[in-house]
């Protein structure tokens, strides 16, 4: 795929256009990345594809090799793997807390002990998710890193 970047005057609207023979997984990945840069991600709910503001997502979870995004009231199937989402959102407020789960740190209300070195994160929608002991050091590092 050729890549072409053209600088335009400020008076014109910035546009990113992908001209392809087929909307392949690779193209979808690029589209997902662009959307995430704009604070949106594509998800499927009841067979309909819609745009979800990343700001509204509480956590991503992988269930039976499928990824889901959970907002306060809905859950959407996401066409990406957890590791891809982690990479995509690595500069954001999402951190891995389990092998198959990324949580939005801005949606955590509090953290309490979860026995055996684990912790339980109480989310702002009153859901609880387990922080696996394997991911506690990385979480501490992210939190102590200060601002995002």
């Amino acid at each position: 795929m050729d890549l072409k970047v053209t600088q335009i005057p400020k008076s014109e609207t910035e546009t990113l256009e992908i001209r392809c023979h087929k909307v392949s997984d690779e193209v979808r990945e690029i589209v997902s990345f662009i959307k995430s840069r704009q604070g949106m991600i594509s998800g499927k709910i009841d067979g309909n594809i819609c745009e979800i503001p990343i700001l509204d997502i509480y956590y991503f979870e992988s269930v039976d090799k499928r990824s889901f995004a959970y907002t306060a009231s809905d859950n959407y199937e996401i066409n990406m793997r957890i590791y891809e989402l982690e990479e995509l959102l690595r500069h954001g407020s999402f951190v891995r807390i389990q092998k198959g789960m990324l949580v939005n740190l801005l949606k955590i209300k509090s953290i309490k002990p979860g026995l055996s070195g684990r912790y339980v994160a109480l989310l702002k929608n009153k859901e609880e998710v387990i922080i696996s002991r394997n991911y506690v050091p990385a979480l501490k590092k992210t939190l102590k890193g200060g601002s995002i």
């Binding site: 840069r37 954001g92 801005l106 684990r118 387990i130 002991r133």
Partner: protein, 156 residues
């Protein structure tokens, strides 16, 4: 949990158990069998019993994190396994007078108390850590504002 983490957890638990088992043996000995004398090899007993006590740490885990209720159930099973192994060791050893019922009951109760104490200590340590985590989380959220995604130069 990978092997490195399991090993780290086992070491932490091991030294806690050695301390508690030594105290338990002293209490049980003074209460029920204070006249008995032992050779220096008896100093090995707490080390051996503690090694048995950490064995359940290496039981195969599950990929998915257990809920708190399931974890408590797992801990109860671990306690039963530890009690069983310690009793097998105690009944096959000459140094422990297992013919006395009070000694057997004391061992069972002692293991239970040690197990609870070890877990309570661990919980208190985690509670202190969770307070630090909550403080860091609050700072993070305040400094992050409301945006969960902040583009930077290197992810362009």
């Amino acid at each position: 949990m990978n092997l490195k983490h399991k090993f780290y957890q086992a070491i932490k638990l091991y030294f806690m158990l050695v301390t508690f088992i030594s105290i338990l043996l002293m209490i049980l000995g003074l209460a029920f069998d204070s006249e008995r004398t032992f050779s220096y090899s008896v100093f090995l007993s707490p080390l051996i019993y503690a090694a048995v006590g950490v064995l359940p740490v290496f039981l195969p885990g599950h990929d998915k994190e257990l809920s708190v209720k399931m974890l408590i159930l797992k801990k109860i099973i671990e306690l039963v396994i530890i009690e069983t192994i310690i009793f097998i060791l105690a009944f096959s050893s000459d140094t422990i007078p297992t013919e006395k019922r009070t000694i057997v009951a004391g061992i069972a109760l002692g293991i239970f108390v040690i197990y609870i104490l070890a877990n309570v200590l661990e919980y208190l340590f985690e509670k202190k850590e969770s307070k630090e985590l909550n403080d860091s989380l609050l700072n993070y959220q305040e400094s992050a504002g409301i945006s969960p995604f902040k583009p930077t130069e290197d992810n362009v």
